[in-house]
C-alpha cells in the first residue's frame, strides 16, 4: 500500500507546555494557548447571565418572605406563585423544543433513506 504522504501532527502538547512554562520572564499569558475573543465574550456572558438569574431568584424565593410586606422592594418582584410557574413553563418549553428537534431529525433521516433506496 503506497503511503499517502501526510501525517497528522496536532502540535505536541509537551512542547506547548514547555514554551508556556519556560517563558515566565516574557509574560506567561501571551505564549500559553488561550480561548479566542468571541469564546471569551460568550463564556463570560453565560456566567454573568447565570449569576443574575441566581441572585434574583434567591432574593425572590428565600429573602423576600423575611422582609416586611410594606417595604418598597416588593414592587420589583412578581407574586410568589410565578416563582414556580415560570421555571415550570420554561422547563416544559425546553422539553417541547427538544422533542420537536428530535422529530425533525428523525423525519429528515427517513427521507434520506427513502431517497437512497
Amino acid at each position: 500500500m503506497v503511503s499517502l504522504g501526510w501525517d497528522v501532527g496536532v502540535g505536541d502538547p509537551r512542547s506547548v507546555l514547555e514554551t508556556g512554562l519556560g517563558q515566565s520572564e516574557a509574560g506567561l499569558l501571551s505564549r500559553r494557548p488561550m480561548a479566542t475573543g468571541t469564546d471569551q465574550v460568550v463564556g463570560l456572558g453565560l456566567v454573568a447571565v447565570s449569576l443574575i438569574i441566581f441572585t434574583y431568584y434567591t432574593a425572590w424565593v428565600i429573602l423576600l418572605p423575611f422582609i416586611d410586606s410594606q417595604h418598597v422592594i416588593h414592587k420589583y418582584f412578581l407574586p410568589r406563585a410565578y416563582a414556580v410557574a415560570i421555571p415550570l413553563a420554561a422547563g416544559l418549553l425546553l422539553l417541547l423544543f427538544v422533542g420537536l428537534f428530535i422529530t425533525y431529525v428523525m423525519l429528515k433521516n427517513q427521507k434520506v433513506t427513502k431517497k437512497a433506496q
Binding site: 499517502l4 497528522v8 480561548a35 453565560l46 447565570s50 438569574i53 441566581f54 423576600l64 423575611f66 414556580v84
Partner: protein, 90 residues
C-alpha cells in the same frame, strides 16, 4: 447500597420531609412556610444556573491552539484532494 438506591433514597427522604413541613407537620412561622414551599423548584433552578455558569467558564478558559487547528485544517484539505483524485467520492 447501590448508586441507584442512594439516588432514590436521598430525594425520597428530602422530598417527604419537604412535603410534611409544607402540609403543616410542625408549627412554622408563616414567613418560613412561604420560603419553604418553592424549595424544590429553587434547587432545580440554582442547579441549572450552576451548570450554565460552569459551561460558560469552561468556554471562556478553553485552551485554543490556533496554529495546530489551522495546520490540521490544511492537512484535511490536502487529504480530501488526494483521496478524490484517487477516485473516492465524498
Amino acid at each position: 447500597m447501590t448508586k441507584l438506591a442512594q439516588w432514590l433514597w436521598a430525594p425520597a427522604l428530602l422530598g417527604s420531609a419537604w412535603a410534611a413541613l409544607t402540609l403543616g407537620a410542625l408549627d412554622l412561622p408563616s414567613s418560613c412556610r412561604e420560603g419553604l414551599w418553592p424549595l424544590p423548584t429553587y434547587l432545580l433552578v440554582s442547579n441549572g444556573c450552576f451548570a450554565l455558569a460552569t459551561v460558560g467558564y469552561c468556554v471562556a478558559t478553553f485552551h485554543d491552539c490556533e496554529d495546530a487547528a489551522r495546520e490540521l485544517q490544511s492537512q484535511i484539505q490536502e487529504a480530501r484532494a488526494d483521496l478524490s483524485r484517487r477516485g473516492m467520492r465524498f
